[in-house]
C-alpha cells in the first residue's frame, strides 16, 4: 500500500519534469555551453583513449592528472606574480594571452610530468612483472586516490597552505567573460570562443602528430600489434611513455581552459567527475580511437545540457550515462569504432 503511494507522485513528477519549452527556448545557448564543456571533455578523453589504444589499460588516474594540471597552471600564475583576489585582472588583451599561454604551458608541464611519472612509478613495474590487467586497473584507482589525497593533505603542508587543502583555491581570474556576439539569440563570450578554438587547434595538432610523424606511426604500430611493432624496431617502452606524455599534456591544456570557465573549480576532488565524463566520452566515440574521443566529448557535452533542460538540472549525470548505454547497445564499440590502429587517426 505504502509502496503504491510513494510510486504515484514520483512517476507524475518525472512526467511533469519533461520541460520541452525550456529546451527549445534556450536551445542555442545550451548548445554553445555544451560545445564549450564538450571540447574540454574531448581533450581529456584523448588521454584515456590513447593509453587504452596502446596498453588496453583504462587509466583511471587520468582525472587526477587533469586535476594536477589545474594546480599546475594556478601555481604558474602565482609564480608570475598573480595573487588570488575577487576582481578580474585587466592586463590588456596581448599580455593576458601571453600570461594564459605561460599558465597553459605550466599546467601542461605538471600534467605531462605527472602522467609520465605515474606510468614509471605505478604501471611500468607491473608491466615488467607481467601483471594481469585487473591489477593495472586496481593500481590506477589506487593512484587516483593517492594523487587526490596528496593534494588534499600533503600539498598544503609543502606550500605553506597556498595550494591544496579542503577548500577550492581562491580563483585568479585573468579574463572577464564578456559577450562578443550573439548567435541566434544566444550570447557567445570571449571565454567560450577561446576554449573551443584552443581545443580544436590542440586536437588537430594531436591528430596530425599521430598521423604524420614517426613517433605517431610508432604509437599506431604498437596499438595495432605490439609484438610485430617491437620486431620492426619500435621501442614499446618509449611509445608508452610518449602516449602518457601526450595524454598528460592535453589534460594540462584542458585544465587551463576549464579554469577559465570555472575559476573556482580548482580543488583536490575537482577532476573526478570530469574525468569520468571524459572517459565516457572516449567510450562513446569508440575507445582507442582519437577522432572518436573528440566526437564523443562534444556530443556528451551538448547532450548533457539538452538533457538537463529537458528533464531537470539534477539529471545531468544520468543523461550522460543513459546516452552512453544507448549508444553502446546499438554500437558496442562506440560511434566510430574501437581501434587506434585501424581508424585512420
Amino acid at each position: 500500500m505504502s509502496a503504491v503511494m510513494t510510486v504515484g507522485p514520483a512517476v507524475s513528477s518525472v512526467v511533469s519534469a519533461f520541460n520541452v519549452d525550456s529546451l527549445t527556448h534556450n536551445f542555442w545557448a545550451l548548445t554553445i555551453d555544451g560545445l564549450t564543456y564538450g571540447s574540454i571533455y574531448a581533450l581529456v578523453a584523448v588521454g584515456y583513449t590513447l593509453v587504452y589504444g596502446v596498453l588496453r589499460l583504462i587509466n583511471f588516474a587520468h582525472s587526477e592528472i587533469f586535476m594536477l594540471g589545474m594546480f599546475g597552471q594556478y601555481a604558474t600564475l602565482m609564480l608570475l606574480g598573480f595573487t588570488p583576489r575577487g576582481d578580474v585582472y585587466t592586463e590588456g588583451t596581448l599580455l593576458t594571452i601571453v600570461y594564459l599561454g605561460i599558465a597553459m604551458l605550466g599546467g601542461m608541464a605538471v600534467s605531462g610530468g605527472a602522467a609520465v611519472g605515474l606510468e614509471r612509478v605505478a604501471y611500468r613495474p607491473l608491466r615488467k612483472r607481467g601483471a594481469p590487467s585487473l591489477v593495472f586497473l586496481i593500481t590506477a584507482i589506487g593512484a587516483s586516490f593517492i594523487l587526490q589525497e596528496f593534494v588534499h593533505f600533503v600539498l598544503p603542508k609543502l606550500t605553506n597552505q597556498k595550494l591544496g587543502g579542503v577548500n577550492a583555491q581562491q580563483p585568479i581570474r585573468l579574463v572577464e567573460p564578456t559577450v562578443q556576439f550573439t548567435f541566434l539569440g544566444a550570447d557567445v563570450t570571449n571565454v567560450e570562443i577561446v576554449i573551443v578554438v584552443a581545443a580544436i587547434l590542440l586536437a588537430v595538432a594531436t591528430e596530425r602528430f599521430i598521423t604524420l610523424t614517426k613517433f605517431g606511426r610508432g604509437i599506431r604500430a604498437v596499438a595495432q600489434d605490439p609484438v610485430t611493432a617491437t620486431l620492426m624496431g619500435v621501442s614499446r617502452e618509449r611509445v608508452i611513455m610518449l602516449t602518457f606524455l601526450i595524454g598528460g599534456l592535453l589534460a594540462g591544456a584542458a585544465a587551463l581552459l576549464y579554469t577559465l570557465r570555472v575559476p573556482s573549480g580548482i580543488i583536490y576532488s575537482g577532476g573526478f567527475i570530469l574525468g569520468i565524463k571524459a572517459f565516457s566520452a572516449a567510450v562513446l566515440g569508440g575507445i582507442g580511437n582519437l577522432r572518436g574521443a573528440l566526437l564523443g566529448g562534444l556530443l556528451l557535452g551538448v547532450m548533457e545540457l539538452y538533457g538537463q533542460a529537458l528533464f531537470g538540472t539534477e539529471w545531468r549525470d544520468v543523461v550522460a550515462f543513459v546516452l552512453l548505454i544507448l549508444v553502446l547497445m546499438f554500437r558496442p564499440t562506440g560511434i566510430l569504432g574501437e581501434s587506434l590502429g585501424r581508424a585512420r587517426a
Partner: protein, 413 residues
C-alpha cells in the same frame, strides 16, 4: 645506455613538477606583500568585500532592532563570586573537515571562561574540550566519557544536529545540561529531553523568515529557488518555496548536486526566466561557483542564500560576484569589542557561532557564580534563565527553544 634515456627524462619531469611546486611555496614564503588576503586567516575576504550584518528579522520578515549588547551578561560579574573549582565541558568538531565551527565555539566559550576566572579569584572554572569530529559515530564514543565524568556540571554542545540526535539520550539520562550553540535541526527539541536547550533559532524559523523578508521587505516578485541534494538544502528549499508562495517560480526551480562546479544549464534556465532573485539552498562549495557563473552568464538577479553559504570562503571563491548577496544566519554578529578581544586572544577573527558560545558559556558561569554546584541545579538554572546576551535575549520555552527566535540577514559589501 639507450634504455636509460627515457628513464632520465621521466625523472627530470618529476623533478620539474617538484620544482614548480616548491618554487611556488618559497616565493610565497619570502616576499608576497601584494596579497592582502593570503595566509590562513579565515576572515580574509576577497578584495574589500566581506559579509556584513544588515538587519535582524522576525518570522514575518520585519526588522527587529538588535539586542542592546550593553545590557549583555558579563562573564566577569562583580568579581566577588565564590565557588569550589568547577568544570564545564564543550563537545564538537575540533579536528576534521568541519573543525572551523567547533573551534569558533570553543574559543568563544574560552573567552568567557577566562574573563570570569581573571575577575573571580575565588571561583575558578575549567572548560574541558571533547572532540567529536562532528561525526555522530565518534560522538557516541565521546558522550559516555562526558556523562561519566562527575566533575562536569554543564555541557556546551554538541555542535552539530546529527551528533546531537545521536547522543542526546546519553546526556538526558545523566541529567547533564546540553546547551547547543549551533545545532539547528528543528526535531531536536521534539524528543522530550528536559536537559537540552538551543541558543539560537532553528531551521524551521530561518526558511519562513527569509522568505517573508524577500517578499515583504525586498519586494521580490519572482524568485528561482535552487537547491542542492543535502538534507539541509532540500529542507530549506522546501520551506523557502512554501514561504515565497506565488513569488517562487517553478519554471526555474533547479536542483544541483554536491560537488558540482559547473552550472551552465541551471544558469541558462534561470536567465531565461529573468527573476528578481535567485535563492540558493546549499553550501558555499557549490554556492560560490554558482554565484559567479550566474554573474558571468549575465544574470543580474539578487543572490540570496542562508547559513550554508554564510562563510568567508564564499566571498573568497565568488569574488566580485558575491557583491550584494544576501546571506541569512540564525547566528548573531560579533559586537566590536567582542571581535577585538577575540582577535587579540586567538589571533584569528571570530566566526559563526563564536558569540553564541560566549553567551551560553556566560549563562553557565552565572549559574556557577550564583551557587549552582551540581548537574540538576545547572539544568534548573538555565530553564529559568531570563537575560540579555551579546547576540540576543535568552529565555527558553518548555521544549528548550528560545522564546523569541530571530534570524539575521547579512549582506556581502
Amino acid at each position: 645506455m639507450r634504455r636509460s634515456t627515457p628513464q632520465l627524462a621521466g625523472t627530470a619531469l618529476v623533478l620539474a613538477v617538484g620544482l614548480v611546486l616548491t618554487g611556488c611555496s618559497s616565493k610565497d614564503d619570502s616576499g608576497d606583500t601584494t596579497s592582502p588576503t593570503g595566509g590562513s586567516s579565515s576572515a580574509a575576504a576577497s578584495g574589500d568585500l566581506s559579509i556584513q550584518p544588515l538587519v535582524q528579522i522576525d518570522n514575518k520578515g520585519a526588522e527587529v532592532p538588535a539586542a542592546d549588547s550593553s545590557n549583555a551578561a558579563d562573564p566577569a560579574g562583580d568579581g566577588s563570586a565564590k565557588c569550589d573549582p568547577t568544570t564545564i565541558a564543550m563537545a564538537g568538531a575540533l579536528t576534521g573537515a568541519n573543525a572551523a565551527l567547533g573551534i569558533n565555539i570553543l574559543n568563544g566559550a574560552k573567552l568567557a571562561v577566562d574573563a570570569h576566572n581573571a575577575a573571580n579569584k575565588d571561583c575558578q572554572v575549567t572548560i574541558k574540550q571533547f572532540d567529536t569530529e562532528g561525526d555522530p559515530q565518534k560522538a557516541t564514543q565521546v558522550a559516555p566519557q562526558i556523562a561519566g565524568d562527575k566533575s562536569i556540571i554543564g555541557l556546551l554542545g554538541p555542535a552539530f544536529s546529527g551528533e546531537t540526535k545521536a547522543v542526546g539520550p546519553v546526556f538526558q539520562q545523566a541529567g547533564l545540561l546540553s546547551l547547543t550553540a549551533s545545532a539547528t535541526n528543528p526535531d531536536l527539541t521534539k524528543n522530550g529531553w528536559t536537559n537540552f536547550f538551543r541558543g539560537l533559532a532553528n531551521d524551521a524559523v530561518q526558511g519562513p523568515s527569509v522568505a517573508a523578508y524577500m517578499v515583504n521587505t525586498l519586494n521580490f516578485k519572482k524568485v528561482c529557488v535552487v537547491q542542492d541534494d543535502s538534507d539541509y538544502g532540500v529542507g530549506l528549499a522546501e520551506q523557502i518555496t512554501a514561504g515565497l508562495g506565488s513569488a517562487a517560480d517553478s519554471a526555474c526551480a533547479a536542483k544541483v548536486k554536491t560537488g558540482d562546479k559547473d552550472f551552465s544549464a541551471t544558469v541558462q534556465i534561470v536567465k531565461g526566466e529573468s527573476p528578481d532573485a535567485v535563492f540558493y539552498a546549499g553550501y558555499y562549495a557549490e554556492g560560490a561557483p554558482f554565484a559567479s557563473q550566474l554573474k558571468e552568464g549575465g544574470v543580474t538577479a539578487a543572490f540570496v542564500s542562508a547559513d550554508g553559504t554564510n562563510d568567508p570562503e564564499f566571498v573568497k571563491q565568488a569574488g566580485s560576484a558575491a557583491k550584494g548577496a544576501y546571506l541569512s544566519c540564525p547566528c548573531g554578529p560579533a559586537p566590536e569589542k567582542f571581535a577585538a578581544d577575540y582577535q587579540a586572544k586567538f589571533s584569528v577573527a571570530s566566526g559563526v557561532y563564536s558569540v553564541e558560545a560566549y553567551d551560553l558559556a556566560t549563562i553557565m558561569l552565572k549559574g556557577i557564580d550564583s551557587g549552582v554546584k551540581d548537574r540538576a541545579g545547572m539544568v534548573d538554572f538555565v530553564k529559568n534563565y531570563d537575560g540579555d546576551g551579546l547576540a540576543r535575549h535568552y529565555k527558553w520555552d518548555a521544549n528548550g527553544e528560545l522564546a523569541s527566535a530571530l534570524i539575521w540577514i547579512y549582506q556581502v559589501k
